[in-house]
């Protein structure tokens, strides 16, 4: 019988080659596929187009790939907090396409749900609308936005099983489930990998049909970007 379980990140990202389009789950540094990113950096695959809500920080997340000049184009909604990113953008080494966050999310959903395009009011009347079809429904204007296409989606879940089913934890869910649905090949790294049957079918966020390869990651750093606390009263 064939299995979706692979040994490690190296095996998981096999087939990713220079110039491909990747989706990477996570919001800020929360819920990012740390192991896969590290392995992309190790292997030095370059010329990549990365679809991800953010671009990491200088020394973590997609920032690590930027530092090694592996990213040709970044498609994101917010890219602050990254000096190397700024440098490459200003020097013209890096292309950047900024997309409203909801549009980014819904273009992933569209891909996963086999819908070629969606309508959203986000960006109507702004520079985001340039060159896009505008359509009025019920007196309100909407932009037609196209489903994403990505060669690989790299996502991070909390728990997964050998059938590829995934469960996310707290707001580390974010873009992961919708990118998991959207990749031509979807790779999931999980903190805990269990046998099929150990997860309650009602608790699963991403059904295994969307996941092609799964492995238990190691050495999760789960770095906090903005540590904020309140004082005990």
């Amino acid at each position: 019988m064939i299995t979706k379980v692979v040994k490690n990140a190296s095996e998981a990202i096999s087939g990713i080659t220079d110039g491909m389009t990747l989706m990477l789950g996570g919001f800020g540094l929360c819920g990012i596929p740390e192991n896969c990113i590290k392995e992309l950096v190790n292997q030095g695959i370059s010329g990549l187009t990365c679809i991800s809500n953010n671009a990491g920080v200088d020394d973590f997340g997609i920032g690590l790939m930027l530092k090694k000049r592996q990213v040709k184009k970044m498609i994101a909604s917010y890219v602050g907090e990254n000096a190397e990113f700024e440098r490459q953008l200003l020097s013209g080494e890096l292309e950047v396409e900024l997309i409203p966050q909801g549009t980014l999310a819904t273009r992933c959903l569209a891909a996963g749900y086999g819908m070629p395009a969606i309508f959203t009011p986000a960006g109507v009347g702004t520079e985001i609308a340039e060159g896009k079809e505008i359509r009025n429904f019920g007196g309100k204007d909407y932009l037609m936005e196209m489903a994403f296409e990505a060669d690989f989606a790299l996502v991070k879940a909390w728990k997964g099983d050998t059938a590829g089913n995934l469960i996310y934890r707290r707001t580390a869910r974010n873009f992961n489930p919708i990118m998991a649905m959207a990749g031509k090949i979807t790779v999931a790294e999980v903190e805990v990998l269990v046998a099929a049957g150990e997860l309650d079918p009602d608790h699963i966020h991403t059904p295994g049909i969307y996941v092609h390869r799964i492995f238990q990651g190691t050495d999760y750093e789960k770095r906090i970007e903005q540590r904020t606390v309140r004082n005990a009263v």
């Binding site: 929360c30 917010y78 909801g102 702004t126 909390w158 707290r170 540590r227």
Partner: protein, 219 residues
């Protein structure tokens, strides 16, 4: 004239019991501190959470639990987590009752600019364009004049737009305005304690409509 906390306090008065509210970064975040205890409000964080609570106690930070500003947070009883598509789905479907956000410029037709300054490095719009295009009820919290002393309430926005004809209410350090997005104009509703109509006029570059009586804010 109000400070940031004063603006937040005034905006908190607009919140009704049972509201689902999305708070932007900056002054809007402060609004949470002034919600009266006798009403119940559920805060939405657009990365995928309803029921956002206060920051955690030291040592209780959970890297898997952050808000849209990437700050560590907590969850209140009755919280629900969801993915980013559902999060913006509920925003587009106008299930969120009130959105409070900051702005760099507001036009007298309710256009808003708050994401990009030409010549400066742009960081991205995040969820701002989705929020302003979708929400039925938006309050902008902002300083009325910029550091150069120029009004940010304009006939037309000069910066790249975030959304058009979407802002109906603005609260600044000087006043509360309602915007007539059909005919254009800032209608003065209230003035901050001790602030004169002249001060407000001087700080409003767009068309200003002043009724005979302008009450002072009750804070």
């Amino acid at each position: 004239m109000l400070d940031k906390n004063g603006i937040a306090k005034r905006i908190a008065q607009e919140i009704r019991d049972g509201y689902y509210v999305n708070l932007g970064i900056g002054i809007p975040t402060l609004v949470a501190n002034y919600i009266p205890e006798y009403i119940e409000v559920v805060l939405q964080s657009e990365n995928g959470l309803l029921g956002m609570g206060p920051f955690p106690l030291e040592g209780m930070e959970d890297p898997d639990l952050i808000n849209a500003g990437k700050q560590t947070i907590t969850m209140l009883p009755g919280s629900a987590v969801f993915d980013s598509a559902m999060s913006f789905g509920m925003i587009r479907a106008q299930k969120v009752d009130l959105t409070i956000l900051g702005a760099m410029e507001i036009s007298e037709y309710g256009d808003i600019a708050n994401w990009k300054i030409p010549g400066k490095l742009v960081k991205g719009m995040g969820g701002a364009m989705d929020l302003v295009a979708s929400a039925k009820n938006i309050i902008v919290a902002m300083q009325q004049v910029n550091k150069a002393g120029e009004s940010k309430l304009l006939p037309r926005c000069t910066l790249p737009l975030t959304g058009v004809r979407c802002i109906r209410k603005v609260v600044t350090e000087l006043a509360v305005f309602e915007i007539d997005i059909d005919h254009g104009g800032f209608h003065l509703l209230e003035r901050a304690p001790g602030v004169s109509i002249t001060q407000i006029r001087n700080a409003t570059a767009g068309r200003l409509f002043v009724p005979d009586h302008v009450p002072e804010m009750q804070l």
